[in-house]
Symmetry: C2
């Protein structure tokens, strides 16, 4: 028969290392079967309950500390509870016996003025405040803390961007700057591969694998998981791509992230193209638009991303080979699957894009008969098919729609497929070229026509003559959807000038010096890697008492 006893400490701050050590200390006491030492959040209470460590009688607020002991007897439990203060003090005196640490970020910066980096791993609710202070001091921020609000993230990153500073995070697990790992980071060879990683273990897996394959890392810049969502707009990822593009020691870039928001993906891909360096992209769980688009290659796993980066000897398309356009693309397909594959390919670089056969709901073209922005239409969709021959036989619908699209002055590219073979129209090119000539003449120099011709040299239509008829009418012809997607994607780069102060490349190249605020183990790790570092003996305002902290903040104004 076991006994459970507990202790609630209201509104006091303890860092998580102290809590872990207290729990371990309690578990080592005689007669103690199990122990829980947690902040009393809903999640943590559920965790205690799952371990039979949450008696119903306990009441506590989320910012209270909850200490629960399960012991073999009433006496053992009482004794253990009685030791809590002693165990907490033991930890504190151990810390005190070590070197002197400044108590504030500003004091630390005075102690190590060459520190360009501030690592922050304090609890989420305090983290934004510390980060703001670091930016005010002109420092780059590595923000390990999670539970930071989206609003704070956006504000911090906008401030940082104006100053040419990086905010890596919040919830950024990993970075490697000039050979020194920040947060969780594998020890890897220095080398020519730069990494931009929205996630921690993604960056670890890729950098470790690059090392294991014989490659090396110039810098690995973390962004935090939310950076690539629309609200944040990948501010850090854009800065990171830009600084790695300017870094002569970075020959190849790997960009690793969960799938970005569609608009963000478009901009990032455009920025990645503009780096002019080989960029390996792995948007985890996102269907790759192609294996290759110009200087971009798309991987389908973390280990493949590493392999491609290490073996990146692919030929780069030279700049300015493609006339850049910001006009819209309209695809008019007879083949549903070709339309679908093209949409998958183009959605990465064209945004917004709509379709009557969308991949995601937000792409749905509400009015099938009128295109918007970039649009891919499947003319073989059931909607069109009642009492009508398939568009592979009857081109009437497509010819009408081609004229309609060409009349839209915002349209710069009309894309269509010609599917040859048994059962299809016997001369589709012949029927289409007259309208193509007509619309090209109407909008000379403004309208490009691109075709995907699917067929074989044995097809009844004469493949070669179909292709030549189209080419003679001025159509750019490809034989697979993949090639057409690459061609169009390369033409659609936005090539916007960067409007913000660039991140100072020289600061990345100096011997790393940093101030650490939060987990002391991150400081230890900086020192063991040979970096210069100062640890701040951080305590929350008013010792974690939020009411008191609010009062203090008010008084300061």
């Amino acid at each position: 028969m076991t006994v459970v006893k507990w202790n609630v400490r209201a509104g006091a701050y303890y860092d998580s290392v102290v809590l872990m050590q207290l729990q371990r200390g309690l578990l080592g006491l005689p007669g103690v079967v199990d122990a829980g030492v947690v902040m009393a959040t809903q999640a943590n209470r559920e965790l205690l309950a799952a371990n039979s460590l949450l008696p119903e009688a306990i009441t506590a607020n989320p910012d209270d500390l909850l200490i629960v002991i399960k012991a073999n007897s009433e006496e053992f439990a009482t004794e253990a509870i009685g030791k809590v203060d002693e165990l907490l003090t033991r930890k504190k005196s151990a810390a005190l016996s070590q070197d002197f640490h400044p108590r504030s970020l500003s004091a630390a910066v005075k102690q190590l003025p060459e520190a360009n980096w501030v690592l922050i791993s304090v609890p989420g609710r305090y983290a934004a405040g510390v980060a703001r202070e670091a930016l005010d001091l002109g420092k780059h921020v590595f923000l390990y803390s999670d539970n930071v609000s989206l609003e704070d993230e956006i504000a911090l990153k906008k401030t940082a961007r104006e100053k040419g500073l990086l905010v890596m995070g919040p919830d950024c697990g990993t970075a490697i700057i000039n050979g020194i790992g920040l947060g969780f980071a594998n020890r890897v060879r220095r080398g020519s591969i730069g990494v931009v990683g929205a996630s921690g273990t993604g960056t670890q897996a890729v950098t470790a694998q690059i090392h294991n394959l014989g490659g090396g890392i110039s810098h690995a810049i973390g962004t935090g998981g939310r950076d690539l969502k629309s609200d944040v707009g990948a501010i850090t990822a854009h800065q990171a791509l830009d600084v790695l593009a300017r870094d002569p020691d970075t020959k190849v870039i790997a960009l690793i992230s969960k799938p970005p928001s569609p608009d963000v993906a478009t901009q990032l891909i455009s920025t990645a193209m503009e780096t002019g360096k080989p960029v390996v992209i792995y948007f985890i769980g996102y269907p790759p638009p192609a294996r290759k688009i110009g200087n971009l290659q798309f991987a389908v796993s973390l280990s493949e991303a590493a392999e491609i980066a290490v073996n990146s000897n692919w030929e780069l398309v030279s700049d300015n080979q493609f006339p850049i356009t910001n006009y819209y693309v309209r695809g008019l397909f007879s083949g549903g699957t070709l339309a679908y594959e093209t949409l998958i390919g183009l959605q990465a670089s064209l945004s917004p894009i709509y379709s009557n056969a969308p991949i995601t709901n937000y792409q749905l073209l509400e009015d099938t008969l009128h295109s918007r922005a970039h649009t891919i239409i499947d003319l073989g969709d059931e909607f069109f098919m009642v009492g009508r021959l398939h568009p592979m036989i009857d081109n009437d619908l497509r010819i009408r729609r081609m004229k309609q699209e060409a009349d839209d002055p915002e349209v710069g590219t009309i894309l269509f497929d010609v599917v040859l073979g048994e059962g299809s129209h016997l001369d589709p090119a012949g029927e289409l070229v007259s309208v193509i000539k007509e619309i090209r003449e109407k909008r000379i120099g403004e309208l490009e026509i691109v075709a995907i011709v699917i067929g074989t040299d044995d097809d009844p239509q004469n493949l070669q003559s179909q292709v030549s008829q189209l080419q003679e009418a001025g159509v750019t012809v490809f034989r697979t959807a993949t090639e057409a997607v690459e061609y169009i994607s390369l033409r659609m780069g936005s090539h916007k000038p960067i409007q913000f102060p660039p991140v100072n490349l020289e600061q990345l190249k100096q011997p790393l010096a940093a101030v650490n605020v939060g987990l002391e183990s991150f400081y230890d790790s900086l020192i063991s890697q040979g970096a210069q570092a100062v640890h701040v003996e951080w305590r929350p305002p008013a010792g974690g008492n939020e009411r008191m902290a609010a009062l203090l903040a008010k008084m300061r104004k």
Copy 2:
């Protein structure tokens, strides 16, 4: 100034070739500027309106024929309307002047008893009836028609499966059986690559590209786009994979489809594994679970699928190398991205699978603290993180959860990651092996433990010692998520016996003979390819008058 005139013909059936020819005939008449000849569905009325061919005064029902003429004058318009009957008759007499065609499927089958295949391209609302008749006659069905209800599709496919017959479609554009293209099909070399295609142009693009790359096709079996949805359960795709597996002339199989429903994907992948042949899978727009899982390779484009199929000289994993289990997999990750990548990999072969960091909403694990079926937990999620150290430093949470999972008798595999490097726990394996030994002893022979170790030989933890400690405790260790995913996927094959009569392989290998019901051009194409074929001069029951048809059907009962 143009004039628009129109004519409505109620409830009469015309096939779509006749309608196209009538429209073209009208367009050729003097003074006619434009003409529309359509069944008066909502979609078609909108199309007319978009071409300024729908005066407000027109009233018509969806099964009425609508003829609209825009001419340069009242007289031209009236004259054109007056020619409609003549133009319709001209087409009919042209048809009549040709060979005699039987009027019913049963008559056609008597005329060509060796026909094992029936091609159906009549309007959707009649198509299921014709298909049912074909199945009753013991024939395989190629069902080109769209606008067939899901209920009809399911019923037809279940009936067919009981008889060992294929129903390709509805909305099946393409098949190639024994060298003969059905519907829309490119002329391609015969060869050793079998194709299973849920889509028409997908199959065309892949078969054409295989030919263009020098390869050839044994059979290409269509399924229709809805086959791979849960409701249909990929009945046709399973039959197709099975018959191609049994075909000694098929050395490699390519499976092309839009993303299947998750449960269907799992079963299909299991069936594909069981073929024992190299299978190239391209689920268009679905993130590939890996490049390779045993005998399966995953492509990321139609053209890549063709390339892999043609160059398929990859080594096959021999059968029975992996003990097959139907127990559940539980993944307990410290790395969020590793959890995510593993989930993407496993979702293809494990179903249902849940997570606190799901890829799609239906995967959301509602109660983070209790796993269901297959489950992947990110223990570094914010939920767990308030006042607690990251699981890369503190293993307490993971150790507790490991015990919890091991206590579930339905669990057969526990998977976890060990992420080494700066900042992480200095001996994670050392801390985990004692609990691993304990849970393995509790469930001897029932529980496999799999670990993904991310790290380098320079990491402070000593990579080699971490790996050996785990291996000595009986853990199967991999160095990338990809390898762990492949290992687990291969162990999870369901290996269910096929419970239905197999499709008769010999019928696929006989010279193709077919009955065509619907588009005459499909008949012409069969003949031109050297196949034996009979065309049915099909008319809907009661000439397309639905009320009358319903009465007739009642009287027959």
